[in-house]
């Protein structure tokens, strides 16, 4: 029983971060149609910016205010330059999707190589809110609670943004049918760039939150990309609430498998992924 409580709580405490990265990928892949293999690299960059600022005396949680907008800008500009050109040159969506996947692969190597040059490959960590808190008889670090609270708050704020604002409406229309949305007056190139930018920002923010809880390395990005791909499939491609809930589900499953056999965690994600593709490719919230 204790073990189950521990797994569920532990899963929820990592799940919020999974939700955040997955919501980001859902915008990039579900709306902008870029299967962004470099998604985790934005997370890694967010984590290392936090580390670097922390070393220079800046409170890690303050990095959210800098890191989010900065990575948004990088993502936005990347889409406006590279991916928009790919989209406009592609004769159809299929070609656009495969070419942008290849471009994202390139991006993955470029970002990672530069990060390795700057920060090396040794794991880094700093101590932040490291005192321990007891929940239902289980001990957890305070920083994991804070990170989860921030992840949930950011995720909820973003959901409201999509539901309530003009831009949110444009994004949801573009998600369904970009061409028709364009003919209704939505500037598609701009909206898709926004989506890519928001996706990068969400990954970056997840990186900030990860860095205050766990050791970070310049090669950690890909693992999170895999998690995001599985969660987006689990939640339903393009469904923001689906990614949010899916993140927690995968958090619990991953924590459970890790208790039993740490080496099988990633394998279990792929098993879930393949089962989903076979049984319910639309995901839990897919329409």
């Amino acid at each position: 029983m204790d073990l189950i409580i521990n797994i569920v709580l532990g899963g929820l405490l990592i799940g919020g971060i999974y939700s955040l990265i997955s919501m980001g990928l859902s915008l990039q892949y579900g709306v902008a149609k870029v299967l962004n293999i470099a998604h985790g690299e934005f997370l890694m960059v967010g984590a290392f910016i936090t580390y670097w600022l922390q070393q220079n005396g800046v409170d890690p949680l303050l990095t959210i205010v800098v890191g989010g907008p900065l990575l948004f800008l990088v993502g936005f500009i990347l889409y406006r330059t590279v991916f928009t050109s790919i989209r406009l040159k592609a004769p159809n969506t299929g070609v656009y999707e495969s070419n942008s996947l290849l471009a994202a692969f390139g991006l993955y190597f470029i970002v990672q190589n530069i990060a390795v040059l700057i920060w090396g490959t040794t794991p880094q960590r700093f101590s932040y809110l490291a005192s321990s808190v007891t929940i239902l008889g289980e001990d957890f670090n305070e920083n994991r609670l804070v990170a989860t609270a921030f992840a949930v708050a950011i995720g909820a704020a973003f959901y409201l943004f999509l539901e309530r604002t003009r831009i949110g409406k444009a994004i949801r229309a573009a998600a369904q049918d970009p061409l028709t949305a364009g003919l209704m007056g939505v500037d598609i190139n701009f909206v898709l760039a926004l989506c890519f930018g928001f996706g990068a920002a969400m990954a970056g923010l997840a990186g900030v939150l990860i860095s205050i809880c766990y050791p970070i390395t310049t090669t950690m990005g890909l693992g999170y990309t895999v998690i995001a791909i599985v969660v987006v499939t689990l939640g339903g491609l393009g469904s923001i609430p689906g990614s949010f809930i899916g993140g927690f589900i995968l958090g619990i499953i991953g924590t459970g498998v890790t208790y039993w056999e740490p080496g099988l965690a990633v394998a279990s994600y792929y098993v879930i992924f393949i089962i989903l593709l076979l049984v319910r490719p639309k995901g839990i919230m897919g329409k």
Binding site: M184, G185, V186
Partner: protein, 245 residues
């Protein structure tokens, strides 16, 4: 004044000239019918005007200004709106949200959210869709979905409205309603170009008819002129006898 003009408009798909050297005009306030056998290039011409496709050669002008090369959203904001032969509503979104997107982004200067909601409600009322305003759009009947497309197009405040087979697949009652609707829209001063296979509707509503065949314009005139044109009769009779064989 010519509100819309095309000059030598041409579009190829591979080796096929879907629209071939077509020149045309539409005057302000007119209702122009665009007819022709299946595959004549009618929808392609709409796609070229609305910037869903770009012409290989030729020029399209709206209110005297060249518009080919612009982005779809720019075309929309200049005042051109359209509906689709196969409906393209935002199925997952509620009916009212479909219309609101038109009012929020379509007009040259977009409306505030509150104004957009008020206007969407008015348009739904005008279209007789108020009862289903909050249903997901994909749950509507085909006739209602087509009307929703018209509502959404009108929400963008067009001066030129292009209707692609609005009447296809409708039953007799719905057909009469749709014809009334087109007349009501024209009374508001909107210029209309409509692609239609339902001859009764075309003959009844249009001031002028343009006929396409194999991508070429083969006739252009009043409903009487077109109905009596030898070339047009041959094309349509040829179709009928092909179908008979």
């Amino acid at each position: 004044m010519h509100i819309l003009e095309g000059e030598g408009v041409t579009k190829y798909f591979g080796g096929l000239a879907a629209v071939s050297d077509v020149s045309f005009y539409v005057d302000e306030g007119e209702v122009v019918g665009l007819i022709g056998p299946n595959g004549a290039g009618k929808t392609t011409l709409f796609n070229l005007i609305s910037a869903a496709l770009e012409p290989k050669t030729g020029e399209i002008r709206f209110k005297g200004k060249k518009i080919n090369g612009l982005k779809p959203y720019q075309i929309c904001r200049l005042g051109i709106a359209r509906t689709f032969q196969t409906v393209k509503i935002f199925g997952n979104l509620p009916v009212i949200e479909n219309v609101r997107i038109g009012s929020l982004f379509g007009p040259f200067k977009g409306l505030s959210t509150a104004d957009a909601t008020r206007e969407a409600n008015e348009l739904l009322e005008f279209m007789g869709l108020s009862d289903v305003a909050y249903a997901p759009a994909r749950d509507l009947t085909l006739a209602h979905q087509k009307r929703l497309e018209v509502a959404r197009a009108l929400a963008t405040k067009p001066t030129l409205l292009m209707l692609d087979e609005l009447m296809a697949g409708l039953n007799q009652t719905e057909l009469i309603e749709a014809m009334d609707l087109v007349k009501k829209i024209r009374e508001k001063g909107t210029t209309i170009v409509m692609i239609e296979h339902v001859m009764k509707a075309i003959m009844n509503i249009c001031d002028r008819i343009i006929v396409l065949h194999h991508g070429k314009k083969i006739a252009d005139g009043t409903p009487q002129e077109v109905a009596n044109s030898k070339t047009v009769i041959e094309v349509y009779l040829g179709e009928a006898s092909d179908a008979g064989n």
